[in-house]
């Protein structure tokens, strides 16, 4: 079971008794996360990172690494989209509405995530929603 599957299971409370649709949804999220993890530059050696949109109002940042004693450490942060702001939920029941640079970075990451996943996972133009194959090059670059 991959890190992202474990994370999804922990967050959603769903384990292996999933429907085939749920499995496919997870695969799609894994494809999206493969892009999400690249948005923040190089990942340190021995680190594993995931960043993905879990559902309509939840974004997940997951980082896993080994400490000096070679023990696996993980950190999962949930960003909940609420009407009044983006609530950051960290382990240990730490809650905070993000602001300043973190808010700006989150917004940039979401925008890049959308543009790249639309093109690279769903093969659609992020502006029009049309399949990329159906758009003439002259239209794309005009």
């Amino acid at each position: 079971m991959s890190v992202i599957q474990k994370t999804l299971g922990l967050i959603t409370g769903k384990t292996n008794g999933r429907s085939s649709k749920a499995l496919t949804d997870r695969q799609l999220i894994e494809f999206e996360s493969a892009i999400g993890r690249e948005l923040f530059g190089p990942i340190p050696v021995d680190h594993r990172r995931d960043f993905f949109c879990l559902d309509e109002t939840t974004w997940v940042w997951h980082e896993e690494w080994r400490d000096v004693d070679n023990k696996v450490k993980t950190s999962t942060i949930r960003y909940e989209v609420q009407a009044g702001g983006i609530l950051k939920v960290q382990p240990g029941r730490v809650y905070k509405y993000i602001d300043g640079e973190e808010l700006e970075n989150f917004g940039t990451a979401v925008r890049l995530y959308y543009e790249r996943t639309m093109r690279e996972v769903y093969k659609k133009d992020p502006y029009t929603g049309l399949p990329l194959a159906e758009i003439a090059p002259a239209t794309i670059y005009s």
Partner: protein, 119 residues
């Protein structure tokens, strides 16, 4: 960690993608701030809004200066300043719309294509 990890803007971006990050160019859904102001009158913008299914949001003007963040908080900035409220509303709306788009439209469609042998 996320707070100190700034996204890289345009790794290998095409010319069209690069335009996205110019605040004077088109925003996330190809709609600039000026377009939003005319959303109810402009047929093309209205069509895009219909495509997104969230016409009312487009009329709020929250995507003015799309692609340009308000920048980090400075010592002088007030917690409830108009600029910060605008930035917050922009990010909240963006995240909500992207989540809705992916979860309710793209993923189910991809699942359906997968089941029928596509994607």
């Amino acid at each position: 960690m996320f707070p100190n990890t700034r996204p890289i803007e345009s790794p290998g971006a095409t010319s069209r993608e690069a335009l996205t990050y110019d605040p004077n160019a088109l925003g996330l859904f190809g709609i600039s701030g000026r377009d939003i102001e005319q959303a109810s009158q402009h047929p093309e913008v209205a069509a895009r809004a219909d495509f997104l299914g969230h016409t009312t949001l487009l009329n709020t003007g929250l995507f003015d200066n799309a692609g340009k963040g308000a920048g980090p908080q400075t010592a002088e900035s007030k917690p409830d300043s108009l600029e910060r409220q605008h930035e917050l509303a922009q990010v909240v709306t963006l995240a909500w719309r992207v989540g809705m788009r992916l979860v309710q439209h793209e993923r189910p469609e991809a699942v359906a294509k997968s089941a029928s042998g596509g994607v």
